[in-house]
Symmetry: C7
Subunit: 90 residues, 7 copies
């Protein structure tokens, strides 16, 4: 199990060809494209601020957010909560 420090979050990125029920499509523009993934571990927060995301949330995050690790054969990203843009529902 991974216990993130402070305001860090562990995210399991969604496969590139996977689609949500809502049908997220990242447009082909010059702007930075957000990525989608599922939160698998959440830190306790930093400087007494609570965390807004929870384990199981499907989130969008910036393309260059986080550091890659591999744990028991699965790739994850470790990022700060503020690198997450939105939680997707439905």
């Amino acid at each position: 199990m991974m216990k993130p420090i402070n305001d860090r979050v562990v995210v399991k990125p969604a496969p590139a060809d996977e689609k949500t029920k809502g049908g997220i499509i990242i447009p082909d523009t010059a702007k930075e494209k957000p990525q989608r993934g599922e939160v698998v571990a959440v830190g306790p927060g930093k400087d007494g601020n609570d965390m807004n995301v929870s384990k199981g949330d499907v989130v969008l995050y910036g393309k260059y957010a986080g550091q890659e690790i591999s744990w028991e054969g699965t790739d994850y990203l470790i990022m700060r909560e503020d690198d997450i843009l939105v939680i997707l529902e439905g």
Copy 2:
């Protein structure tokens, strides 16, 4: 549904040729030109500060504000509330 994190806001940009009742026209100058859109989702705020914009507000924001995403066939921008300049009314 998209639930923004912290002080983030989801904005649906207005079509380039659309005009408000007030007749917003962006002048052709060297200065950065603000864009217009409608707020569709608002985060809970950051560090205990309340949010000033609400769902449904028509807003102006900086040209380079936010990250583009597409959700159920519609393009949106995800930005911080402070990237919004003014709320338009009437």
Copy 3:
């Protein structure tokens, strides 16, 4: 109507050839030259700090302050209150 976000202010710039009763003349030097305008809308303040300018105030602001917009045929500047230097009276 424009409702500024946080500590933003909407200013209607004075015409270049207009003179106040006090006769403001910007000297021709290498220093940044402030501009004059009238405040037409004031935000609620940021992080609980009150605003010092009011609608109707005639103000000087830095030459490069703000973003230009056009609303109902009139050009405005949207800037942060701290970009304003002084309120002129008389």
Copy 4:
């Protein structure tokens, strides 16, 4: 009349050849040379901090401090209070 915003101060620079009773002489070195002037208007302070200078104070300030304006035929500088170095007395 000019009412400075926040922690700003309006200073009337002393003529280059004027001397105070104390005989301020700026040495000719490579270091930035402070300038002398008289405070003519003081803002209310910023973020709840009081101002230390008062109208009528003769002050020294950094050579590149402030922005130049002309008001009723006189040149002034608008700067932040913290750009002022010392108040001169006597």
Copy 5:
């Protein structure tokens, strides 16, 4: 014994070929690769904030985190707690 100052932590890096029970494998990508190690000393915290890691924790940290020292024949890294990404368990 080493007593870290403020929010600093002393980490004993794991040998490059060692594997945890969980089988951490760092993927071969262009992103910065985190490293694994064991916490051997923890500072008292900084500015009144408590520390989240404890002596004995196995942690991942950024590749360029910390400064190397050698103490009684063993190499260690001294880093700030916030350079640690996650605590590994199991």
Copy 6:
């Protein structure tokens, strides 16, 4: 008399060939060499923090600290208190 603003301090630099009883000698290395002087005026402090130096203290300060002024025929440096390194005694 000079009354420094906020956390500023007026220092009268010691002559280059003067020696204290303690025999301060600045070594000839590539590092920045501190200078010695006597505090002649102290500001009220900034943001409610008290000042640690007093009028009459002999202090060391960084070589490039402060701005030079001349007052009644004597050269002084105006610097922030935090540019002072140590107070010398004895």
Copy 7:
């Protein structure tokens, strides 16, 4: 005697060939190498934060930390407490 200002500390660096009982050896790598020394004077702290090091502590600090001075024939370094990495004991 030297009384450091705010959070500054005076350190007497250990001779390059000296060894502690614990046998500190700095490895020969590309990373910045910490140095060892003994604390001889400690400031009162900054902004109300207490100091963690005491006079007599043997400490490691970054190679480029501090400014060199010589006092009564001995070389010292003046640095901020946060430039110290660990206190060594035993």
